[in-house]
């Protein structure tokens, strides 16, 4: 894992004291709310439906046990005993007091964490593959490149006031587990025919009110030039992005309106210019970062055998563990989606349990997934049963990864000022309705957003749900056929929307039709792509 150097720590510590002074001046009346608002947002502090909300950055979703334990401490000391893990691999707290916010940032800084650039029109937390460094199918660990992006983009003076917020993701396998093509810039580390590593740049993707899948604008940028290329992409966007219209300000609109070819031409011209300016970070810096992401000391000669005599444990192994690159190890995924619970929420006690388990069984590492779950990336298979027993005793052993109960849901109208409808109660009702049939249904990714901003990734759900406001009444649109992976696609709206109970019935009817139509080995998405929308519309609307 990356450890702060003196510069990282000094910057974060200085920011804490700067914000402490800003809060003091606000409380004493020396700063108006108008002046203070952008300052608090730059530190991740929003004013939400019930209180201040603090969003804490978790770079590329990677945490140590000590960092995770601190998140539990903050939940208990400053909030109401829980935190909410988000689709940007971050965590947010819903009941923060302004006067305590500087102390929280100081506590975070003590474990090399912060809330910088978790809001505002800047480059947000860079996300990555939650199995990075452990996945059997990755080319290299993508996190050193994500870390270099973090360092380049933090306080970047040219990109602190972009036309709109900006999100980046980095992966290094053909299996996209980070929704890479639904980002402003998605980067895939690839190897060319000569055997060299490079970065494929996908630019102009995103969800929100105008969902788009990013096109590839350059299939191979040498890795010793990839920050320069990213700078060129941002410069063209910063120059031409629509600052006059918030709804057309994201880079996806620029790429669409200019056209991929013209946008690419301008990026390549800027790139050529920037290469003469030598702005790429020194190779030594990337090597310094890489040295902190070396494999942990995996034991050799371990058995891959797992005692499956406990059927509940065997089911969890089948559903919630993933192949690891090291023999005798597995990636263990902790579902934060118990039946009927709030997706992504974890109590302070649960957070501490996960921190302890990471230290005991996973080389002190955890990951937050964009699907709002937690990963222990390096667990000996021989330890899985002991791990599972602790998880089970703490309500963390739900065996439903990527199944219909493993729902992504934004906070929705229960917490968010932007939302038009509640998301969480819909997730809870679907989870409860479908729980008994999850194993029969198999992989089915369901995602719910409470407004068009799509924080719940509804466009990319095999089944997506969008909450809207119909004259003050919550209404829910149903979408089918989305996917965030390498087979990326955007969902299509089925037709007229539903009320709260109607949307749950509609999801059940869609699922029933899938079960009656599926062929051997087909996931829901496969069946949908084979037979199309019509049979599902018939099942829903008659």
């Amino acid at each position: 894992m990356y450890k702060y150097d003196q510069y990282d720590q000094a910057m974060v510590d200085a920011r804490v004291e700067e914000f402490r002074d800003q809060v003091r001046r606000r409380l004493e009346g020396h700063l108006s709310e108008e002046a203070f608002r952008p300052l608090r947002l730059m530190n991740g502090l929003y004013l939400q439906l019930h209180a201040y909300m603090l969003r804490v950055a978790i770079p590329y979703g990677t945490l140590s046990g000590a960092q995770m334990r601190m998140l539990g401490h903050i939940a208990d000391k400053y909030d109401r005993g829980y935190g909410h893990f988000t689709t940007r691999q971050n965590i947010q707290y819903n009941w923060i007091k302004l006067e305590e916010a500087p102390d929280i940032l100081a506590d975070l800084a003590s474990v090399e964490m912060h809330a910088i650039q978790t809001s505002g029109n800047c480059i947000r937390n860079t996300t990555s593959d939650q199995y990075a460094g452990a996945a059997a199918d990755e080319l290299v660990d993508p996190r050193p490149y994500a870390e270099l992006i973090r360092q380049w983009s933090t306080f970047h003076p040219e990109f602190s006031f972009l036309p709109r917020k900006f999100k980046m993701a980095v992966i290094a396998s053909d299996t996209d587990r980070a929704a890479m093509r639904l980002h402003d810039i998605g980067i895939q580390i690839v190897r060319n025919a000569a055997g060299d590593l490079g970065a494929a740049f996908y630019v102009g993707g995103g969800m929100g009110r105008t969902p788009m899948i990013a096109p590839c604008i350059n299939s191979f940028v040498p890795l010793d030039q990839f920050i320069t290329y990213a700078e060129a992409c941002l410069r063209v966007y910063n120059r031409h992005g629509r600052r006059d219209n918030k709804y057309k300000a994201r880079i996806k609109i620029l790429v669409h309106e200019l056209g991929k070819d013209e946008y690419t031409r301008q990026v390549e011209a800027e790139f050529a210019h920037l290469l003469t300016q030598n702005i790429e970070p020194p190779t030594a810096e990337l090597e310094r970062i890489k040295a902190q992401f070396v494999d942990p000391p995996f034991e050799t000669g371990l058995s891959d055998e797992i005692d499956r005599s406990d059927p509940d444990f065997a089911l969890w192994v089948d559903n919630n563990t993933v192949a690891h690159k090291a023999p005798g190890y597995a990636v263990a995924v902790i579902s934060l989606k118990p039946v009927g619970a709030i997706p992504g929420d974890a109590s302070g006690d649960q957070i501490r349990v996960m921190a302890d388990l990471a230290e005991r069984y996973s080389f002190d590492e955890l990951r937050v997934t964009h699907a709002q779950n937690i990963v222990l990336p390096h667990v000996r298979k021989a330890d899985l049963y002991a791990l599972w027993q602790v998880l089970d005793a703490n309500g963390l052993a739900t065996a439903n990864l990527d199944q219909i109960g493993d729902i992504i849901a934004c906070p929705g109208l229960d917490y968010c000022t932007l939302a038009n409808a509640r998301s969480i109660p819909i997730a809870q009702k679907i989870s409860e309705r479908m729980a008994a049939r999850e194993q029969e249904i198999g992989e089915l990714k369901l995602k719910i957003s409470g407004c068009i901003n799509a924080c719940g990734h509804h466009h990319a759900g095999h089944i997506g749900i969008l909450g809207v406001d119909r004259k003050g009444i919550e209404n829910y649109q149903l979408l089918l056929g989305g996917s965030e992976g390498a087979d990326c696609s955007l969902g299509t709206i089925t037709g007229p929307g539903f009320d709260e109970s109607g949307i749950v019935d509609a999801v059940e009817r869609v699922t029933n039709r899938y079960l009656s139509e599926r062929q051997q080995g087909e996931r829901f998405l496969d069946t949908y792509r084979r037979i199309g929308m019509a049979p599902f519309k018939e099942a829903i609307y008659g």
Partner: protein, 98 residues
């Protein structure tokens, strides 16, 4: 009727204008008629509230009911965490929101 709501500057708690001060309870809210802008300007300048605004509401036998569901959720608390609402002992409190 028009009532005023905002958040307490220090704690961020949702508050309602009573005509004298800010209360955590929507049932304490008063109709400000055409005086919303005057009250909002004075109270925000005094830092007793932040992010304040006027909303439509009705009064019936059960008390004051904000017109929009968003404001009713603000008045009660998250419907998915009854224990964190202002009426944790009332399991039916969430029905008021819908």
């Amino acid at each position: 009727m028009k009532i005023l709501t905002g958040n307490d500057l220090k704690s961020g708690a949702v508050t309602w204008w009573t005509g004298v001060e800010w209360s955590l309870h929507v049932e304490d809210a008063v109709d400000v008629g055409d005086n919303a802008d005057t009250v909002l300007a004075r109270e925000q300048a005094a830092r007793r509230v932040t992010g304040a605004y006027a909303i439509d509401a009705t009064r019936d036998a059960a008390g004051i009911r904000p017109a929009h569901i968003k404001e009713r959720i603000r008045a009660l608390g998250p419907t998915v965490r009854p224990d964190l609402t202002l009426k944790p002992a009332d399991p039916e409190a969430g029905n008021w929101v819908i």
